[in-house]
């Protein structure tokens, strides 16, 4: 199963809020993926397929996952859905 990791600087606040919304989106689109959250440092050893974070976080994680999803507004579910769908397409086949 694909692993999505939601990351923030300390892994306790924003990443949890993002994880909640990402799970909502995943449920809506019916994708079978695992979603977890972590801080920036532990994200590097996590081997996630997709990393989700705000811009300043993902810029420090390029190369640590096949796909990076950058979010500006963690409350914008439509933007999130669009980006998640696009990232998941890369894993088809």
């Amino acid at each position: 199963m694909l692993k999505i990791l939601v990351v923030c600087g300390n892994g306790l606040g924003s990443s949890f809020l993002m994880e909640m919304n990402i799970k909502k989106v995943i449920k809506e689109i019916g994708a079978e993926v695992e979603v977890e959250h972590s801080d920036l440092t532990s994200a590097k050893g996590y081997h996630a397929d997709i990393i989700v974070g705000t811009k300043d976080i993902t810029s420090q994680l390029s190369g640590y996952a096949k796909e990076l999803i950058e979010l500006n507004n963690i409350l914008d579910l439509e933007d999130m859905r669009e980006k998640v769908v696009k990232a998941l397409e890369k894993f088809e086949n």
Partner: protein, 149 residues
């Protein structure tokens, strides 16, 4: 822990004057510091992380979630909210300027999760967010918080 236990009425201030983002983080943190719920080191840690990692604490347009880690000096899981009189720039490309600063302090990685879930309930209801952004009456915010707790 429910949201209204963490973010009680005495932890909410409206029409707060902050001169810049650091001042805004200080003012939000001081509410918890004054009750010894956090140490000064916690506020310093938030500012340090913002300087090192960028303005990621601005999680949505106009909203900052000021937080660091339990080991940075948290005595009790708690939250404060300040609504700024004049929005301040945090240096975020899309979400500036910030008008609401939530300061979140947690002693571990679990005790605040129910409250955050409830906070997300508040944040995804635009009529409630309008109240948080605009009211000059703390009781109106307390009503919103209670509704979601």
């Amino acid at each position: 822990m429910f949201l209204n236990q963490m973010l009680s009425k005495n932890h909410i201030q409206v029409n707060v004057e902050a001169k810049d983002w650091e001042n805004a983080i200080d003012l939000g943190g001081e509410i918890l510091l004054n009750e010894k719920l956090i140490e000064l080191t916690y506020i310093e840690a938030v500012k340090k992380m913002k300087k090192e990692n960028g303005p990621y604490i601005v999680i949505a347009p106009g909203i900052a979630l000021s937080h660091a880690r339990p080991e940075n000096g948290v005595n009790k899981t708690s939250m404060s909210l300040i609504q700024l009189k004049n929005p301040v720039e945090f240096g975020h490309e899309e979400n500036d300027p910030v008008k609401l600063v939530f300061t979140l302090a947690t002693t571990d990685n679990k005790s605040h999760l129910d409250s955050l879930r409830q906070l997300m309930g508040v944040m995804t209801e635009s009529s409630d967010m309008d109240i948080l952004f605009t009211t000059k009456d703390v009781d109106k915010i307390v009503e919103v918080i209670n509704k979601h707790s």
